[in-house]
Symmetry: C2
Subunit: 833 residues, 2 copies
């Protein structure tokens, strides 16, 4: 099967008006059906066939576009988007006026502290709270032996095995054993030290590679052996083993990454209380609606009886501040039972070990390449540490391996290992960096093996068509431009040299490296909703559930509303908070998705309002003419809105203020627009990037200096160039930090965390971070993107580690693909070489 | 001109589809045009004529009904409405969990206190703040000599002459002279005593009847004499002087009311701060959006850069907590200049004398009646104390005089007198109680004069058709039922007796009285907006700007959403707060309007959501059938929603949960409905009521005991019977309080307030209030009302004073129509008689 031919056949399906409404699963089903794959069906027969196969076609209900076309791409000239705007919450952050969850106090609060397991694995046999209860100021202690019956089967979702509010078996250091509510934080803290717990310590797995060895402790009953959580069904394309035999050169490598902690500055914090038989939960929640729904299910309430408010100023996220833990449920129950508000603020250590991390991973990769430098076959096997109870699986990591290059023969395997370590979960770009590190270092290794320039081998193999297995096409992919523009900017042609060939000072070697990237973040998805209110004075309030996590998400919401409505940006207001009682769910701020989720929702809402404004303006122009004794025929299509005025397209001087159009719709009444966008799965929606870096490696000390860093991203459309640049710079900095420095380390004997604090975890500080990350925006507008945009909140972090590893190899001629690439690893590798 | 005939001619205009879109002014213009009044025009000629006359007809843009028909009246069976529900915020109030503005604190606040004029009228010549500024902890003092230039021409709207932030001429006791921001309330308080002000005291008017006497001080330059604010153009119908001559009996009376204070329990309080170059203003505001807009104009900002949050728990309103004073602007400017949050909480005295009151009034009335008891002519002249700077005018009081009875000859005159007293403004039912007191006591006087029973004379004269002057008809008026049902409930037929005829104990006389009422409150109006969100689990959040002031407004919003969507009431959530950044303006909670303003908005929003849900359900049913190999034809019209399920009307067992319909609209996405209702001015929308009371009057002590009280109201539809009953009971209690006890009294010599506190103002306490107010709901569904409802928040207060006055006359045979009817007035009247 020829990939190219495969995609060509499938182009018949691309007409969005009839293919827009298939699900991803339906696409894959069609792609794997030989009859369909070979079919030369034409519209309208195709419609009938699809209809018969999949039942009712869901029409495009989006209030504006159905997804069948993208009206936002039809805008000729942008007024607001494409120009740099400061973050709408920026002044609040830098002046200290903006309040964080920990700043909120309510009267008569109790403070919660949690007694946590000191063992990676143990049974809780008995709890004696008598001494703690005797402490003055202790209001209530909750644990598994006194949990009210109605909550005994309550559980949090999102794990492979049930997570009850208090488990008999604690499965990680830090697992909650009892929760104390007391009149002060100090009393609560004192009380947890007075609680006596009888544990039966059980054998634990704290090194995930030990977990798949024979004889590893059986941690629970599952379909494998109680340690392996999941063996993914391998993805196989062509015949990878035969392909390897055909290849002229085969390179392989093991790449590994340490456990990485998001480590946002703000700690988990919140207050909850019961008001009017509803739970109010004011918390550092990155996805207020998702937390509301999870909390409601845990407490067996309708979601409309839980209210979650996110402060609007979240001190970083990077994947954290999501998926409320059982601690939040404990607080809610304590608040209910005591009748008082309960505040809980985590310690740094608690946030490090009881929330989630990017799993440590071990990847075995092999790449076969022919004499012309074309990739023939590749195999990758990922083994990752899912920690104690995550549902994270491996295949999410595969998308870049499946799509970035044309590889006719491919096998991808994955094993998730259940351990007694910190639970794995989302951290900026989640598992995609695994693939990028493994693949991009192998690509360089292959280039060196066949004597090609790393830029050349990438340009030769890069896939610019679509997903080879499903036939879903890319929309206007910019990967080639990313590669060539990054190379051009850094001066690749003149600066690249053979490995180890450029000693710039005694013992100090110059290196240059690059890496490419494709992953599925940034495309948005369901839900994508929003509301805009055009006030009687013609100004606008945007009501969006898109949480700000520091990336400028809410600034883009305001900009989209202004652009779509033709109302000056300065007249658009948006509040910081997300309150589930007032906003509609537009999904978690994750997956680099808000531009294409909240943004689509606001766009559709603004279109809905705009339509009403134009109809109002028709009435107003008609009435005004009649007052002058004239009769005119006006249609909404003849009108446009810009700078707060509705005008005739063919006579821009004939205009009325937007306020007059608002008045003409319904007197003295704001115009409300609502939006809910339907995302058709027509396209394979990938984020493309290419980075390049120059480094100097000191072979005496092992230290690495990043001299220059260039990051080119296909952003579709640069919505807010200022925020975009900052996002790329921040992501690259975190990627370099992972490449050179970060890692959450446990004591292997006891499983106790050793680096559960900012000092020892060693994220790069502002003094370590490179000052010179240059962002390049490749603007290949996407059919699926609002105004053509593709989000890039996460991808930058994924590309930096292989870029740095490749540059280090170019400098010193030895491969180090085990992150973090610390001085001792460099010195050891040099010594071994 | 025959009133009856007049209305008949105008019935041609009643077809809502072509008359719905005229304004009140246009109606009146047509009514006064003889050609039109006599015309026998028919549709569609009428349409063309209206179109030519008034220009473009505004189509009904309301998202659901255009106002041309009322789909909410087509509902056969109600599930939620009509059943009593506890207030959604009730638990928050009674448990103390609900927070009021004064409960909110933010860190690093300043406290504002205001130096206020001790003179009713004076010029501020100089201000020396040096001693105050030297006080440790004083952050800033603002006054007219240091006000930043940009605010020197800022003014608050709503008065007959400009109200600048600090006036050179202070025009009432309590007018602001300087505002201090300090680190504590005590320091601020101390500082205002250290400010030295040089005043030039000017002659003042503190008795409004003195203001129209020759030689009264000229207070300002206006078109009259500087004291009279306004002489309304008299309303004249027929020939009242000739009518009086024809009448068999003419009765007259002067009725007066004292200045009445709303006196809600909660004092004006709030905090404001600047965040992200926007003003946030957290205040006891009954109309958050209105305050936002006023504040924005005063500060010269777009309204989207001001955010007003109302706490959601307002400790009473009754017309107060509206129209932010200059003090709120002072706080905003102090917050801006100091860069800190500024809190201000009024004292009780400040709220009594610097906010607004129901103006004292003097009404001279005359009623001519023929021998059969038919009203022939009436004249009323109202003189009211507008205080210092209100825009309150008299004609608002006239509607009951114009409409309640058939009176062919009528003259209404009004004079508003500008004084140096507390500004007049809105207080429950505003000026309508003037008319009801004057008219209903005269009606009884006339009945006694011609020897008729007060019930009989009312039933004979009551107007059940429409407005005699504009021809706008009533919709299903229930005034006759109110009269007969109130009379029946109290046992009028057996209990009524000639005046002074029933001594029940020595010196104690039994009396029975009734009064009727018509006024224009309760019909709602623009803006009427709302949003509903149907969550993916099928539960609902209602997003409404309808402020709760204790009347159960938000409970009715939730009920309307549940009823319209067919989703159980328990699954509908609504937050307490009104936040202008998240909600759309649905008007002030005033005019008894929220059921027909916020309620219409929520209804239209729910219809919008319901339409989407039915379309989703069509898709789901179709797809399900197809999966089973069946083909079905479904239309939304074939489906209905009840108890959270969408079902086939002709096969209720075939059903899906609402959650499935939500999912079918757009996957994983809530359904948002938005509503903005257009109110056609087709109808004369009046609140009708009749009350009856039994009293005992002790002729030795002068004390009055209310034995029994019955209040019948045409409510259109009893939406929440529990809340409705409480509204009527509360209103009657306040009305009895005004009748017997309340009055804001000034020292006549100095103008200084004497009763500016709860103790001396003498509102009835719970110990004084009658326990036995029986509410009767007359349910005459209205074409213009959502589900037929007509609001009745205010009317009950208006009917009680004449009911009590009439009962007192019936008891002791002397007329006292000067409120409050205190013991000394009763004893003096008895002595005079």
């Amino acid at each position: 099967m020829s990939t190219k031919g495969h995609v060509d056949v499938w182009r018949v399906l691309l007409k969005p008006d009839y293919a827009a409404h298939l699900t991803d699963g339906q696409w894959r089903e069609l792609a794997n059906d030989p009859d369909w794959r070979e079919a030369e069906v034409e519209f309208p027969q195709l419609m009938d066939e699809l209809y018969a196969r999949f039942g009712s076609k869901v029409p495009g209900y989006g209030t504006g576009s159905s997804g069948a076309a993208n009206p936002s791409l039809a805008v000729d000239e942008l007024s607001v988007l494409g120009k740099g705007h400061r973050h709408v919450q920026g002044m609040g952050v830098v002046t200290g006026v903006g309040k964080y969850a920990v700043n909120l106090t309510v009267s008569d609060m109790l403070y919660m502290k949690t007694l946590r397991s000191p063992h990676p694995r143990a049974l809780v046999k008995a709890i004696d709270t008598s001494k703690a209860e005797a402490l003055r100021g202790v209001a209530m202690i909750l644990h598994r032996f006194n949990l009210p019956e109605e909550y005994q089967d309550s559980r949090l979702e999102g794990g492979p095995k049930p997570r009850f509010l208090f488990d008999e078996e604690v499965t990680q250091v830090g697992a909650p054993v009892a929760a104390v509510a007391a009149e002060s934080e100090h009393i609560a803290d004192e009380a947890i030290h007075l609680i006596e717990v009888e544990y039966e310590v059980l054998p634990a797995v704290t090194n995930f590679l030990d977990g798949i060895k024979p004889g590893a402790p059986k941690l629970w009953d599952n379909e494998y052996d109680g340690t392996i959580l999941d063996i993914s069904e391998p993805l196989v394309r062509g015949d990878p083993d035969a392909g390897m035999k055909e290849a002229g050169a085969v390179v392989d490598a093991i790449s590994t990454r340490s456990t990485e902690q998001n480590a946002p500055l703000e700690l988990t914090s919140g207050i909850c209380w019961w008001e009017n038989e509803r739970l109010t939960w004011y918390w550092t929640a990155r996805h207020a609606h998702g937390e509301r729904d999870r909390m409601a299910r845990a407490l067996k309430l309708p979601s409309s009886r839980v209210r979650v408010i996110q402060t609007g100023y979240l001190g970083g996220s990077y994947g954290s501040h999501r998926n409320g833990d059982v601690s939040e449920v404990h607080a809610a129950i304590l608040a209910k039972l005591t009748g008082k508000p309960v505040r809980a603020t985590a310690t740094r250590s608690e946030d490090f070990i009881t929330r989630t991390v990017r799993a440590a991973v071990h990847t075995e990769g092999k790449l076969g390449v022919n004499r012309e430098g074309a990739f023939v076959a590749a195999t990758y096997k990922l083994i990752s540490d899912t920690g104690a109870g995550s549902s994270n699986r491996s295949p999410g990591a595969w998308i870049g391996l499946e799509t970035l290059y044309n590889i006719p023969n491919l096998r991808l395997e994955g094993i998730g290992v259940y351990t007694n370590n910190v639970r794995s979960g989302s951290y900026r770009c989640v598992s995609h960096p695994y693939a990028t590190l493994a693949q991009e270092t192998l690509v360089d290794k292959a280039a060196y093996a066949v004597g090609m320039n790393p830029l050349e081998i990438r340009l030769k193999n890069v896939n610019e068509v679509g997903h080879p297995d499903t036939g879903k096409p890319y929309s206007n992919p910019g990967i080639r431009d990313c590669l060539t523009q990054a190379a051009e900017r850094i001066g690749w042609e003149t600066k690249w040299h053979p490995a180890g060939a450029k000693e710039v000072r005694p013992g100090v070697f110059h290196g240059i490296g690059m890496a490419a990237h494709a992953c599925s973040h940034g495309a948005g998805g369901h839900p994508s909703t929003g509301v805009v209110i055009v006030n009687p004075d013609g100004t606008v309030n945007v009501v969006s559930g898109a949480a700000e996590v520091g990336g400028g998400q809410r600034t883009v919401m305001a900009m989209i509303a202004a652009e779509t409505l033709g109302i000056p940006y300065e007249q658009v207001g948006i509040a910081p908070e997300i309150d589930t009682d007032y906003t509609s769910d537009t999904g978690v701020t994750a997956g680099s998705r808000q531009t294409n989720s909240g943004g689509w929702g606001v766009y559709e809402a603004a279109l809905d309002a705009r339509r009403q404004l134009l109809e109002g303006a028709v009435q107003k122009f008609t009435a005004d003419a009649r007052k002058d004794g004239r009769t005119i025929e006006v249609t909404p299509e003849a009108l446009d809105i810009r700078d707060g005025f509705v005008f005739f397209k063919d006579d821009p001087e004939t205009k009325i203020p937007v306020a007059d159009a608002v008045e003409a719709v319904v007197p003295r009444t704001p115009v409300i627009g609502r939006g809910a966008h339907f995302h058709p799965p027509t396209w394979e929606r990938l984020a493309f990037a290419a980075h390049a870096a120059e480094v100097e490696v000191d072979t005496v000390t092992g230290s690495v200096s990043v001299l220059r860093y260039v990051a080119a991203h296909d952003v579709g459309r640069a919505m807010n160039p200022l925020g975009l640049e900052q996002q790329i710079q921040g992501g690259v900095t975190m990627g370099i930090s992972a490449a050179l420095s970060e890692g959450l380390v446990n004591d292997k004997a006891t499983g106790l965390p050793l680096t559960d604090n900012i000092l020892e975890y060693k994220a790069l500080t502002i003094k370590d971070a490179p000052r010179n990350v240059e962002a390049i925006f490749v603007e290949h507008a996407k059919e699926y993107g609002v105004f053509g945009a593709h989000g890039i909140g996460e991808p930058p972090i994924a590309v930096a580690p292989p870029t740095i590893a490749n540059a280090i190899y170019n400098a010193i001629g030895v491969w180090i693909t085990s992150l973090p690439i610390t001085r001792d690893k460099i010195l050891a590798a040099l010594e071994a070489a």
